[in-house]
């Protein structure tokens, strides 16, 4: 019985506090909703730009694939030519390994330049 009375009093007290504190809720200014929605709509307008970014990253892979694809094709032709003309042993000579490194370096440099170029173009476009 005492427990029930205690619970009743506690509940009464809680209800009293709830009633009292309900007056402290702050009303948002009238223009806040408008401000928020305007910013969200502006953010949303940027979505197609994000789509373009995805496309750009696709272009990056394509560009990388084409440059290094040509590089591997050139290396394959070189290896095949050397193999048939000078035999297997020549493939392991320092001259041939040096030639392979030179070709790989040239193509890497080419890829680096093309990346730098597209980066600068993108930067210019954003400005």
């Amino acid at each position: 019985m005492i427990i029930m009375i205690d619970k009743y009093n506690q509940q009464k007290e809680e209800d009293k506090l709830r009633q009292i504190l309900s007056s402290t809720k702050i009303n948002a200014p009238e223009n806040l909703e408008h401000r928020i929605m305007r910013q969200i709509e502006a953010e949303n307008a940027l979505v197609p730009r994000n789509g373009k970014r995805i496309k750009e990253s696709g272009n990056l892979l394509k560009e990388m694939g084409s440059i290094f694809g040509i590089m591997y094709a050139v290396l394959a032709v070189m290896i095949a030519g050397v193999y048939f003309l000078y035999g297997k042993e020549f493939l392991f000579t320092p001259q041939f390994v040096g030639a392979v490194i030179l070709v790989a370096s040239i193509f890497s440099l080419l890829w680096l330049i093309s990346r730098l170029d597209s980066h600068l173009r993108e930067k210019k476009r954003i400005r």
Binding site: K16, L17, L21, I36
Partner: protein, 186 residues
Amino acid sequence: MNENQRVQQVLSGNTSAFAYFVETYQDMAITIAYRICGNMQDAEDVVQESYVKAFRNLRSFRSDSKFSTWLYRIVYNTAVTLTKTQIWIGNRGAVAAEEVSHLADNTPELNMDENERKEIVTDVMQKMPAGDALLLTLYYLEDNPVKEIAKITGLNEPNVKVKLFRARKLFREMVVSNWGVQITGS
């Protein structure tokens, strides 16, 4: 239409459907932000930033939880980050409670009109430590259960219960110490 359906609407590209969430929860969001920031200008900025964050990350909202809890958590984090305050550190409230505890007894209860009561309650809420005022706001204004408050504030449930108990006690005692009355309902 329930909230999950509205979320799906927004995700499918209907941006204006998001206005429902702004309209429904902006008052409580600004109240939470105000309790932490202490001024309206920052509170408005926090709420605006929080809604934009919520919109951006709507895909990460799990429909098994309440939208309000998820949003208030964002508001709480944004406000705490902005103000760079540790709202759960410091025992200002505990000291205040000790100082005024002797006043709580034998004080006459006064019935007062709505405006006067509102003035007293608002004043006390502003003087209370931010964390305590925030807990009372979340618990009594929105009827959030302890579990939801724990999710919003990042505290564990027993901790919320203890802090809520102390906040309640401090609130009553501060009303008595600052205004010399015990507030009663009309």
